[in-house]
Symmetry: C2
Subunit: 212 residues, 2 copies
Amino acid sequence: MTTPSVIDLLGVLAYGELTSFERTTYGASIAPTVADKVTLAAVAAHEHANFERISAYLVSLGVNPLDAMEPFVAPLNAFHANLEAKDWLEGLMKSYVGDGIAADFYREISTHLDDQTTELVTDILSDSTLADFAVEHLRSAIATDPKVSGRLALWGRRMMGEMISQATVVAGSRPALQELFLGSVNATELTSLVNKLTVAHARRMDQLGLAS
Amino acid sequence: MTTPSVIDLLGVLAYGELTSFERTTYGASIAPTVADKVTLAAVAAHEHANFERISAYLVSLGVNPLDAMEPFVAPLNAFHANLEAKDWLEGLMKSYVGDGIAADFYREISTHLDDQTTELVTDILSDSTLADFAVEHLRSAIATDPKVSGRLALWGRRMMGEMISQATVVAGSRPALQELFLGSVNATELTSLVNKLTVAHARRMDQLGLAS
Protein backbone atom coordinates (compact mmCIF):
# COMPACT_ATOMS: atom_id res chain seq x y z
CA MET A 1 0.00 0.00 0.00
CA THR A 2 1.48 3.33 -1.05
CA THR A 3 1.15 5.58 1.96
CA PRO A 4 3.25 8.71 2.54
CA SER A 5 4.99 6.91 5.39
CA VAL A 6 6.02 3.97 3.17
CA ILE A 7 7.41 6.39 0.60
CA ASP A 8 9.26 8.29 3.33
CA LEU A 9 10.77 5.10 4.70
CA LEU A 10 11.84 3.94 1.24
CA GLY A 11 13.22 7.41 0.47
CA VAL A 12 15.42 7.59 3.55
CA LEU A 13 16.51 3.99 3.04
CA ALA A 14 17.41 4.65 -0.63
CA TYR A 15 19.47 7.72 0.20
CA GLY A 16 21.02 5.83 3.10
CA GLU A 17 22.16 3.01 0.78
CA LEU A 18 23.51 5.54 -1.73
CA THR A 19 25.62 7.29 0.91
CA SER A 20 26.71 3.96 2.43
CA PHE A 21 27.89 3.00 -1.03
CA GLU A 22 29.98 6.19 -1.16
CA ARG A 23 31.47 5.69 2.28
CA THR A 24 32.25 1.99 1.76
CA THR A 25 33.97 2.84 -1.53
CA TYR A 26 35.99 5.51 0.25
CA GLY A 27 36.98 2.78 2.73
CA ALA A 28 38.04 0.61 -0.23
CA SER A 29 40.20 3.47 -1.54
CA ILE A 30 42.15 3.69 1.76
CA ALA A 31 42.17 -0.07 2.54
CA PRO A 32 45.55 -1.35 3.75
CA THR A 33 45.71 -4.24 1.25
CA VAL A 34 44.38 -4.87 -2.25
CA ALA A 35 42.49 -7.94 -0.91
CA ASP A 36 40.67 -5.66 1.61
CA LYS A 37 40.02 -3.19 -1.19
CA VAL A 38 38.44 -5.92 -3.33
CA THR A 39 36.24 -7.07 -0.40
CA LEU A 40 35.01 -3.56 0.43
CA ALA A 41 34.45 -2.71 -3.23
CA ALA A 42 32.16 -5.76 -3.52
CA VAL A 43 30.23 -4.65 -0.41
CA ALA A 44 29.87 -1.15 -1.91
CA ALA A 45 28.61 -2.58 -5.20
CA HIS A 46 26.04 -4.59 -3.23
CA GLU A 47 24.91 -1.40 -1.45
CA HIS A 48 24.49 0.26 -4.82
CA ALA A 49 22.43 -2.71 -6.02
CA ASN A 50 20.25 -2.23 -2.90
CA PHE A 51 19.80 1.42 -3.82
CA GLU A 52 18.73 0.38 -7.33
CA ARG A 53 16.25 -2.19 -5.93
CA ILE A 54 14.60 0.41 -3.71
CA SER A 55 14.54 2.90 -6.58
CA ALA A 56 12.90 0.35 -8.87
CA TYR A 57 10.35 -0.45 -6.17
CA LEU A 58 9.55 3.26 -5.75
CA VAL A 59 9.14 3.59 -9.53
CA SER A 60 6.76 0.58 -9.47
CA LEU A 61 4.71 2.52 -6.88
CA GLY A 62 4.62 5.50 -9.25
CA VAL A 63 7.09 7.55 -7.22
CA ASN A 64 10.22 9.31 -8.55
CA PRO A 65 13.11 8.12 -6.32
CA LEU A 66 14.68 11.61 -6.41
CA ASP A 67 11.47 13.06 -4.94
CA ALA A 68 11.29 10.36 -2.27
CA MET A 69 14.93 10.92 -1.24
CA GLU A 70 14.82 14.72 -1.32
CA PRO A 71 13.58 15.36 2.28
CA PHE A 72 16.38 13.20 3.69
CA VAL A 73 19.33 14.56 1.71
CA ALA A 74 20.09 17.49 4.04
CA PRO A 75 19.69 15.58 7.36
CA LEU A 76 21.78 12.60 6.19
CA ASN A 77 24.45 14.89 4.74
CA ALA A 78 24.49 16.81 8.03
CA PHE A 79 24.81 13.57 9.98
CA HIS A 80 27.82 12.50 7.92
CA ALA A 81 29.40 15.97 7.98
CA ASN A 82 29.13 16.05 11.80
CA LEU A 83 30.59 12.61 12.07
CA GLU A 84 33.38 12.38 9.55
CA ALA A 85 35.62 9.37 10.12
CA LYS A 86 39.22 10.53 10.47
CA ASP A 87 40.82 7.25 9.42
CA TRP A 88 40.38 3.64 8.37
CA LEU A 89 39.39 2.39 11.87
CA GLU A 90 36.88 5.15 12.51
CA GLY A 91 35.39 4.44 9.10
CA LEU A 92 35.00 0.75 9.97
CA MET A 93 33.39 1.69 13.32
CA LYS A 94 31.00 4.00 11.52
CA SER A 95 29.96 1.23 9.14
CA TYR A 96 29.58 -1.33 11.89
CA VAL A 97 28.00 0.78 14.64
CA GLY A 98 26.23 3.46 12.60
CA ASP A 99 24.80 1.17 9.93
CA GLY A 100 23.94 -1.30 12.69
CA ILE A 101 21.80 1.21 14.60
CA ALA A 102 20.11 2.37 11.40
CA ALA A 103 19.40 -1.22 10.31
CA ASP A 104 17.89 -2.09 13.71
CA PHE A 105 15.66 0.95 13.49
CA TYR A 106 14.49 0.31 9.91
CA ARG A 107 13.88 -3.35 10.66
CA GLU A 108 11.75 -2.52 13.70
CA ILE A 109 9.56 0.05 12.02
CA SER A 110 9.23 -1.91 8.77
CA THR A 111 7.33 -4.62 10.68
CA HIS A 112 4.45 -2.13 10.83
CA LEU A 113 4.29 -1.91 7.02
CA ASP A 114 2.73 -4.06 4.30
CA ASP A 115 4.31 -7.45 3.60
CA GLN A 116 5.98 -6.58 0.30
CA THR A 117 7.73 -3.52 1.75
CA THR A 118 8.74 -5.41 4.91
CA GLU A 119 10.21 -8.20 2.80
CA LEU A 120 12.23 -5.78 0.66
CA VAL A 121 13.55 -3.88 3.69
CA THR A 122 14.41 -7.06 5.62
CA ASP A 123 16.19 -8.55 2.62
CA ILE A 124 18.20 -5.39 1.98
CA LEU A 125 19.33 -5.17 5.60
CA SER A 126 20.25 -8.85 5.87
CA ASP A 127 23.79 -8.75 4.47
CA SER A 128 26.38 -8.93 7.26
CA THR A 129 29.53 -8.97 5.10
CA LEU A 130 30.53 -5.43 6.05
CA ALA A 131 29.78 -5.92 9.77
CA ASP A 132 31.81 -9.16 9.84
CA PHE A 133 34.67 -7.50 7.98
CA ALA A 134 34.62 -4.50 10.35
CA VAL A 135 34.52 -6.64 13.52
CA GLU A 136 37.45 -8.74 12.35
CA HIS A 137 39.62 -5.72 11.48
CA LEU A 138 38.62 -3.66 14.53
CA ARG A 139 39.30 -6.53 16.94
CA SER A 140 42.68 -7.13 15.42
CA ALA A 141 43.56 -3.40 15.57
CA ILE A 142 42.47 -3.20 19.23
CA ALA A 143 44.48 -6.32 20.09
CA THR A 144 47.58 -4.91 18.39
CA ASP A 145 47.31 -1.49 20.03
CA PRO A 146 45.01 -1.38 23.10
CA LYS A 147 45.29 2.44 23.13
CA VAL A 148 42.88 2.67 20.19
CA SER A 149 40.03 1.19 22.25
CA GLY A 150 39.44 4.41 24.25
CA ARG A 151 39.24 6.50 21.10
CA LEU A 152 36.91 4.02 19.36
CA ALA A 153 34.64 3.69 22.44
CA LEU A 154 34.22 7.47 22.48
CA TRP A 155 33.57 7.46 18.76
CA GLY A 156 30.85 4.81 19.20
CA ARG A 157 29.09 6.87 21.87
CA ARG A 158 29.27 10.01 19.72
CA MET A 159 27.65 8.07 16.90
CA MET A 160 24.71 6.92 19.01
CA GLY A 161 24.18 10.50 20.23
CA GLU A 162 24.41 12.01 16.75
CA MET A 163 21.97 9.46 15.32
CA ILE A 164 19.37 10.15 17.99
CA SER A 165 19.78 13.88 17.36
CA GLN A 166 19.35 13.56 13.57
CA ALA A 167 16.48 11.05 13.89
CA THR A 168 14.65 13.59 16.07
CA VAL A 169 15.14 16.32 13.46
CA VAL A 170 13.91 14.03 10.66
CA ALA A 171 10.91 12.77 12.63
CA GLY A 172 9.99 16.36 13.54
CA SER A 173 9.97 17.46 9.90
CA ARG A 174 8.24 14.40 8.44
CA PRO A 175 4.78 13.93 9.95
CA ALA A 176 4.18 10.78 7.87
CA LEU A 177 7.30 9.12 9.20
CA GLN A 178 6.55 10.21 12.74
CA GLU A 179 3.02 8.87 12.38
CA LEU A 180 4.30 5.58 11.04
CA PHE A 181 6.49 5.41 14.04
CA LEU A 182 4.34 6.85 16.82
CA GLY A 183 0.96 5.95 15.31
CA SER A 184 1.84 2.30 15.12
CA VAL A 185 3.47 1.84 18.48
CA ASN A 186 2.10 2.65 21.90
CA ALA A 187 4.15 4.07 24.74
CA THR A 188 5.19 0.62 25.96
CA GLU A 189 6.32 -0.42 22.49
CA LEU A 190 8.25 2.84 22.10
CA THR A 191 10.17 2.19 25.32
CA SER A 192 10.71 -1.34 24.12
CA LEU A 193 12.05 -0.12 20.76
CA VAL A 194 14.47 2.31 22.40
CA ASN A 195 15.57 -0.48 24.72
CA LYS A 196 16.06 -2.86 21.81
CA LEU A 197 18.20 -0.33 19.92
CA THR A 198 20.27 0.41 23.02
CA VAL A 199 20.77 -3.26 23.82
CA ALA A 200 21.76 -4.03 20.23
CA HIS A 201 24.19 -1.09 20.25
CA ALA A 202 25.73 -2.26 23.54
CA ARG A 203 26.08 -5.77 22.09
CA ARG A 204 27.92 -4.45 19.05
CA MET A 205 30.29 -2.39 21.21
CA ASP A 206 30.76 -5.42 23.44
CA GLN A 207 31.71 -7.54 20.40
CA LEU A 208 34.71 -5.23 20.12
CA GLY A 209 35.42 -5.23 23.84
CA LEU A 210 34.40 -1.55 24.03
CA ALA A 211 32.20 0.19 26.63
CA SER A 212 29.01 1.62 25.13
CA MET B 1 45.66 -18.26 -25.08
CA THR B 2 47.08 -17.58 -21.62
CA THR B 3 50.35 -15.79 -22.21
CA PRO B 4 52.13 -13.62 -19.61
CA SER B 5 51.29 -10.59 -21.72
CA VAL B 6 47.56 -11.38 -21.72
CA ILE B 7 47.61 -11.78 -17.95
CA ASP B 8 49.52 -8.53 -17.59
CA LEU B 9 47.05 -6.68 -19.75
CA LEU B 10 44.07 -8.12 -17.85
CA GLY B 11 45.78 -7.34 -14.53
CA VAL B 12 46.39 -3.68 -15.31
CA LEU B 13 42.90 -3.36 -16.77
CA ALA B 14 41.32 -4.96 -13.66
CA TYR B 15 43.17 -2.67 -11.27
CA GLY B 16 42.37 0.27 -13.56
CA GLU B 17 38.63 -0.49 -13.38
CA LEU B 18 38.82 -0.92 -9.59
CA THR B 19 40.48 2.48 -9.14
CA SER B 20 38.15 4.11 -11.69
CA PHE B 21 35.27 2.77 -9.61
CA GLU B 22 36.76 4.48 -6.54
CA ARG B 23 37.31 7.79 -8.30
CA THR B 24 33.90 7.85 -9.95
CA THR B 25 32.25 7.13 -6.60
CA TYR B 26 34.26 9.96 -5.07
CA GLY B 27 32.87 12.15 -7.86
CA ALA B 28 29.36 10.97 -6.92
CA SER B 29 30.01 11.96 -3.30
CA ILE B 30 30.85 15.57 -4.30
CA ALA B 31 28.32 15.86 -7.15
CA PRO B 32 26.41 19.17 -7.16
CA THR B 33 22.96 17.55 -7.36
CA VAL B 34 21.42 14.27 -6.22
CA ALA B 35 20.52 13.49 -9.85
CA ASP B 36 24.22 13.81 -10.82
CA LYS B 37 25.13 11.68 -7.81
CA VAL B 38 22.73 8.94 -8.96
CA THR B 39 24.15 9.04 -12.51
CA LEU B 40 27.78 8.82 -11.37
CA ALA B 41 26.99 6.09 -8.81
CA ALA B 42 25.50 3.98 -11.64
CA VAL B 43 28.64 4.53 -13.74
CA ALA B 44 30.80 3.51 -10.77
CA ALA B 45 28.74 0.35 -10.23
CA HIS B 46 29.23 -0.49 -13.91
CA GLU B 47 33.00 -0.03 -13.51
CA HIS B 48 32.89 -2.41 -10.56
CA ALA B 49 30.96 -4.93 -12.67
CA ASN B 50 33.72 -4.61 -15.29
CA PHE B 51 36.31 -5.33 -12.62
CA GLU B 52 34.36 -8.45 -11.62
CA ARG B 53 34.09 -9.61 -15.25
CA ILE B 54 37.85 -9.31 -15.75
CA SER B 55 38.48 -11.06 -12.40
CA ALA B 56 36.16 -13.92 -13.38
CA TYR B 57 37.92 -14.20 -16.74
CA LEU B 58 41.32 -14.35 -15.02
CA VAL B 59 40.02 -17.05 -12.66
CA SER B 60 38.75 -19.00 -15.70
CA LEU B 61 42.34 -18.84 -17.03
CA GLY B 62 43.59 -20.26 -13.71
CA VAL B 63 45.02 -16.93 -12.53
CA ASN B 64 44.40 -15.26 -9.15
CA PRO B 65 43.25 -11.69 -9.93
CA LEU B 66 45.21 -10.34 -6.94
CA ASP B 67 48.42 -11.81 -8.42
CA ALA B 68 47.64 -10.40 -11.86
CA MET B 69 46.97 -6.91 -10.47
CA GLU B 70 49.91 -6.83 -8.06
CA PRO B 71 52.60 -5.46 -10.44
CA PHE B 72 50.37 -2.53 -11.39
CA VAL B 73 49.21 -1.43 -7.95
CA ALA B 74 52.21 0.79 -7.17
CA PRO B 75 52.45 2.47 -10.63
CA LEU B 76 48.70 3.18 -10.82
CA ASN B 77 48.62 4.46 -7.23
CA ALA B 78 51.62 6.69 -8.04
CA PHE B 79 49.88 7.99 -11.14
CA HIS B 80 46.78 8.94 -9.15
CA ALA B 81 48.81 10.40 -6.26
CA ASN B 82 50.76 12.61 -8.70
CA LEU B 83 47.58 13.73 -10.38
CA GLU B 84 45.02 14.25 -7.67
CA ALA B 85 41.97 16.16 -8.90
CA LYS B 86 41.46 19.24 -6.71
CA ASP B 87 37.74 19.62 -7.39
CA TRP B 88 34.66 18.39 -9.24
CA LEU B 89 35.74 19.79 -12.65
CA GLU B 90 39.28 18.43 -12.47
CA GLY B 91 37.80 15.06 -11.49
CA LEU B 92 35.53 15.11 -14.56
CA MET B 93 38.51 16.05 -16.76
CA LYS B 94 40.50 13.20 -15.29
CA SER B 95 37.74 10.72 -16.05
CA TYR B 96 37.20 12.03 -19.55
CA VAL B 97 40.78 12.70 -20.65
CA GLY B 98 42.68 10.17 -18.51
CA ASP B 99 40.31 7.25 -18.97
CA GLY B 100 40.06 8.20 -22.64
CA ILE B 101 43.81 7.93 -23.24
CA ALA B 102 43.97 4.65 -21.29
CA ALA B 103 41.02 3.20 -23.23
CA ASP B 104 42.59 4.14 -26.59
CA PHE B 105 45.81 2.47 -25.55
CA TYR B 106 44.16 -0.75 -24.28
CA ARG B 107 41.96 -0.96 -27.35
CA GLU B 108 44.93 -0.61 -29.70
CA ILE B 109 47.12 -3.22 -28.05
CA SER B 110 44.24 -5.64 -27.43
CA THR B 111 43.86 -6.07 -31.20
CA HIS B 112 47.11 -8.06 -31.06
CA LEU B 113 45.57 -10.58 -28.62
CA ASP B 114 43.34 -13.63 -29.03
CA ASP B 115 39.70 -13.05 -30.04
CA GLN B 116 38.13 -13.80 -26.66
CA THR B 117 40.37 -11.36 -24.80
CA THR B 118 39.95 -8.70 -27.48
CA GLU B 119 36.18 -9.04 -27.28
CA LEU B 120 36.16 -8.71 -23.48
CA VAL B 121 38.45 -5.67 -23.53
CA THR B 122 36.52 -3.97 -26.34
CA ASP B 123 33.20 -4.58 -24.62
CA ILE B 124 34.47 -3.25 -21.29
CA LEU B 125 35.82 -0.09 -22.86
CA SER B 126 32.70 0.61 -24.94
CA ASP B 127 30.59 2.44 -22.36
CA SER B 128 30.61 6.19 -23.00
CA THR B 129 28.18 7.27 -20.24
CA LEU B 130 30.91 8.84 -18.11
CA ALA B 131 32.59 10.58 -21.07
CA ASP B 132 29.23 12.00 -22.22
CA PHE B 133 28.40 13.13 -18.70
CA ALA B 134 31.83 14.76 -18.28
CA VAL B 135 31.70 16.56 -21.65
CA GLU B 136 28.24 17.97 -20.91
CA HIS B 137 29.22 19.27 -17.46
CA LEU B 138 32.66 20.54 -18.50
CA ARG B 139 31.28 22.43 -21.50
CA SER B 140 28.63 24.04 -19.37
CA ALA B 141 31.18 25.03 -16.69
CA ILE B 142 33.51 26.52 -19.33
CA ALA B 143 30.62 28.44 -20.93
CA THR B 144 29.56 29.82 -17.54
CA ASP B 145 33.08 30.86 -16.51
CA PRO B 146 35.58 31.04 -19.41
CA LYS B 147 38.43 31.49 -16.88
CA VAL B 148 38.31 27.78 -16.01
CA SER B 149 39.37 26.81 -19.55
CA GLY B 150 43.02 27.81 -19.01
CA ARG B 151 43.26 25.78 -15.84
CA LEU B 152 41.58 22.74 -17.42
CA ALA B 153 43.73 22.93 -20.57
CA LEU B 154 46.86 22.85 -18.40
CA TRP B 155 45.40 19.97 -16.39
CA GLY B 156 44.74 17.99 -19.61
CA ARG B 157 48.34 18.47 -20.77
CA ARG B 158 49.70 17.40 -17.35
CA MET B 159 47.60 14.26 -17.59
CA MET B 160 48.98 13.26 -21.00
CA GLY B 161 52.54 13.83 -19.70
CA GLU B 162 51.99 11.89 -16.50
CA MET B 163 50.42 8.96 -18.37
CA ILE B 164 53.33 8.69 -20.79
CA SER B 165 55.73 8.81 -17.84
CA GLN B 166 53.93 6.05 -15.89
CA ALA B 167 53.39 3.91 -19.01
CA THR B 168 57.15 4.01 -19.61
CA VAL B 169 57.84 2.88 -16.02
CA VAL B 170 55.31 0.03 -16.32
CA ALA B 171 56.57 -1.11 -19.71
CA GLY B 172 60.16 -1.05 -18.44
CA SER B 173 59.35 -3.31 -15.50
CA ARG B 174 57.04 -5.74 -17.35
CA PRO B 175 58.93 -7.47 -20.19
CA ALA B 176 55.79 -9.41 -21.19
CA LEU B 177 53.77 -6.25 -21.62
CA GLN B 178 56.59 -4.54 -23.45
CA GLU B 179 56.94 -7.55 -25.73
CA LEU B 180 53.20 -7.62 -26.40
CA PHE B 181 53.52 -4.04 -27.37
CA LEU B 182 56.86 -3.85 -29.17
CA GLY B 183 56.94 -7.46 -30.36
CA SER B 184 53.68 -7.10 -32.17
CA VAL B 185 54.17 -3.75 -33.78
CA ASN B 186 56.96 -2.55 -35.99
CA ALA B 187 58.49 0.92 -35.87
CA THR B 188 55.96 2.33 -38.32
CA GLU B 189 53.06 0.92 -36.34
CA LEU B 190 54.52 2.34 -33.13
CA THR B 191 54.67 5.82 -34.64
CA SER B 192 51.17 5.29 -35.90
CA LEU B 193 49.94 4.24 -32.40
CA VAL B 194 51.51 7.29 -30.76
CA ASN B 195 49.96 9.44 -33.46
CA LYS B 196 46.57 7.84 -32.93
CA LEU B 197 46.69 8.44 -29.17
CA THR B 198 47.78 12.03 -29.65
CA VAL B 199 45.12 12.72 -32.26
CA ALA B 200 42.41 11.15 -30.08
CA HIS B 201 43.63 13.21 -27.09
CA ALA B 202 43.56 16.41 -29.14
CA ARG B 203 40.04 15.56 -30.33
CA ARG B 204 38.85 15.11 -26.74
CA MET B 205 40.39 18.44 -25.68
CA ASP B 206 38.86 20.03 -28.79
CA GLN B 207 35.41 18.71 -27.79
CA LEU B 208 35.75 20.99 -24.77
CA GLY B 209 37.17 23.90 -26.75
CA LEU B 210 40.53 23.45 -25.01
CA ALA B 211 44.04 23.52 -26.52
CA SER B 212 45.86 20.18 -26.18
